[in-house]
Assembly symmetry: C4
Homo-oligomer: 277 residues x 4
């Protein structure tokens, strides 16, 4: 088991794992390259930059594609089961990182390639596993999972509200004030309920303005609901590595992580023979 690792195994450690200095450095460099390639894509979309530096940026983009292609080849080479890797989520994302650069040879100005180039960003998550932030993210995800059902109830209620209000506004204000259809009314209701308030469509009639006031105050009040749900769940998740077990005497059901006795009544949480029988 402790034989000298082959070159492929050593490469695997550097590329796929993060517990060696070399592996961490590899991930840091990769993170930098991904962010840079992203930046180039974003900057390239500015008309004046594109006009002046299109060819330079195309070369840079080519460089990134080459780097990613080499990385993809290496990952395939050193992976113990290359096919499994190739069809895994990250394997596909890695492949997608190369494709736009290659397609760009044939379709020079295909705007939809942009989306694919932006998908590269997903690769950041592979690299972020180095962070001590993951434990914190874990709390957040835990709290979100715990509040899933409550949030679905909330979203269904919001959808209902938004459909009702949107339809009412369509009937009240009508097409002459910008509410040209029910979907438009629903869009307006979402803009208003979430307190975004673009102002591209606004109520003009007194009745419409009264109804809007109702929508706004509703939105302002129920902004509390997801916050309340989430806060309560997060507090749970943070106390969270608590032991869930009913005390056989006092029925206290949450205990300290390593508790052997109930901190309220002092009885053994897991009594030995006596009560087991």
């Amino acid at each position: 088991m402790s034989t000298t690792p082959s070159r492929r195994q050593r490469l695997h450690r550097i590329i796929f794992e993060t517990d060696t200095p070399a592996g961490r450095r590899f991930d840091q460099v990769l993170l930098l390259v991904i962010l840079l390639s992203l930046l180039v894509t974003i900057v390239d979309s500015i008309a004046s930059v594109h006009r002046d530096y299109a060819t330079h940026l195309a070369w840079v983009e080519w460089g990134f594609t080459a780097v990613f292609a080499v990385e993809y080849a290496l990952r395939l080479y050193c992976s113990p089961r290359p096919l499994k890797y190739a069809f895994s989520f990250y394997g596909l994302v890695d492949l997608l990182a190369i494709i736009p650069g290659i397609l760009a040879i044939y379709y020079s100005d295909a705007q939809y390639l942009l989306i694919v180039r932006i998908i590269r960003m997903l690769r950041i998550f592979r690299v972020l596993k180095l962070a001590p932030y993951l434990r914190q993210a874990h709390y957040l995800v835990e709290a979100l999972r715990g509040s899933k059902q409550k949030i679905i109830v909330f979203l269904v209620s919001v959808s209902t509200l938004v459909t009702v209000f949107g339809t009412l506004m369509y009937v009240i204000e009508g097409p002459e004030h910008g509410f040209t259809s029910i979907p438009k009314g629903i869009y307006w209701a979402i803009v208003t309920l979430t307190t975004v308030g673009f102002g591209d469509i606004v109520p003009k009639t007194p009745v419409g303005q009264m109804l809007s006031s109702l929508v706004m105050i509703t939105g302002y009040s129920i902004i509390a609901v997801p916050t309340g749900i989430f806060t309560a769940e997060l507090a749970n998740a943070m106390r969270g590595e608590q032991l869930r077990h009913d005390c056989p005497v006092c029925a206290k059901n949450l205990h300290e992580h390593g508790a052997a006795f109930c901190s309220r009544c002092g009885h053994a949480l897991f009594p030995k023979r006596d009560e087991q029988a």
Copy 2:
């Protein structure tokens, strides 16, 4: 009591109850039909769609009306007390789901029928009883009920603020800057206090802008109030606040959350060996 149920009783179980597979399936199909009929209503309101597909959609709408009419007849037939059903809340909603389709024969373009057609959405709630989400909704409703009085106090305060600010702005800015009446001023104050900020009416004078800043900072600060109320109540509802346990000595039956001793007589609430025997 366990005689073979008649056909009417079996129908009643399928249509009104949800604890059999057939009943659940019936509700799922109904939910789908309701959502589809809603979608058709919404899509039909788009001018370009209505122009091209008006007759097709009218036929589809006729189909839905037929389905709902059959369902209504079945409910009347298998209900043990049809009249009580017919005048119950859901009975009326079920009736309202049929009316617009029938009225549409005589009044071909009556826009107000839309509202009635939207009322069909209320029927979704009848179907949603299948969800395990209701226990979660229970927490939310509990928390809302607990915070009712505090929220009324809050809404009264907000109404007062909004009236005062709206009037002040009407006096300061005047009709030439869009504040044409006090109700308009109040509408503006609501738009601003709830941080929606459409931008259809904005202060132009320096004094008006200073007052607006005050309104915004107030709104931004008191956004905390309903959230705080709700969060505190939800946290209460989620853990069962107080410990219900009779003190073995003085019989006090409500104690602090983590109490080990009775706070009135000082005796252990869960004595160790002595009283177990």
Copy 3:
């Protein structure tokens, strides 16, 4: 002490107190009249209504002034110390409720009288003492008082942020993009930081838009701060009638309202002779 009360004393009970049915009814009628007078003021500000019904509304307004004048006279008459009442807060508010009606005879269209007429709204609070809502309002006020210092720290920080961002935007965007002075920049920063976003002044330069993004994300993040402060304090206030007293043995410092013994260690909170000596 239990002699028959004089007419003045009986009137005093009805007008100033709320613990008799007559007193409660008096307050309810008064509340209605105040709200109606407010409604008339608001409706009167709509140009089209004012044009058509100005004289009618003036008569109605006269009626309200008469009612309030009679009420003021009665309060003065039945108050045991009329002067003290006249110069109390509510005495002055009651007087202000009459003045605009009288002044309106001489200055027919004085808009600033509006403000005085709106001040009548303050009288609602006198009447609201009937509500069981006051205990709830008490919690809110308690929580606000508890969080006062933290909120001042927060407001000072926000003012600093807003001044800095406003000045920066004034320098970056300049008068040609609507940022004509530092106060205007500060106004914009408040509009943005509070997530109101009117859109009357918006950044046009790339640097300005980057800075705005920073302002918005800051505002979006620190929206948490007053909420967090308030929620934590409200939870305190609601547990809140708790007994603050250090247990002489275990130093637990918050106990149930009527606690005689510590619920954690079971020791007397206020031991008799032994430890007093």
Copy 4:
């Protein structure tokens, strides 16, 4: 050690410390002067004020510069190690407070001096040390430090969301609807996600409006996340989480908040009579 302090030492106490009445008064006067100089800078930026009072304000500004110069000289004089002070953070800020007044002699209308003059505001923090508010600020800072990692996770997620949504909108809406580049799209996504909603760029196509609705509801929902994080941490910071007390038997020294018995060995943490003797 308790010899009569020299004049320099006495000055040092007044200028640098706040525990004497004279020191406090000095700080209060300084705070007033700083705020006034700030006010003058802000007011001077208003075009109409600048036109009419430019020379008056220049004189006032000169006065402030003189006051700050004297103060700087005094601080240098009475500081035990003048060089260390001069290169400390506050030493540099104090120097920056004088420079703009002196430079203004040569460059009469240099707008960038504004920034330097605004930096004076930083000096406010030096004075604020008198406040009893610092203990409260301590809680806030504590809560912020505790939630640092979670907030970084949150900001990274928000940045990712905003980049993805911004790019999608750029592709969907295109330059003809105001989305002229990806950075512009990202700017729009930030404006929308934070619920600011200026309305300077708005989606026009149906697909764009559907995507915006998604962005808004996301923003509205995740507004909960920083609030939840912060509230949970603040609640932690405000009550001292765990009970510090040595168990008399097993010496475990950290226990659950309301623990009466040790959760490791089951012995009473605060035994009654037996061990008191």
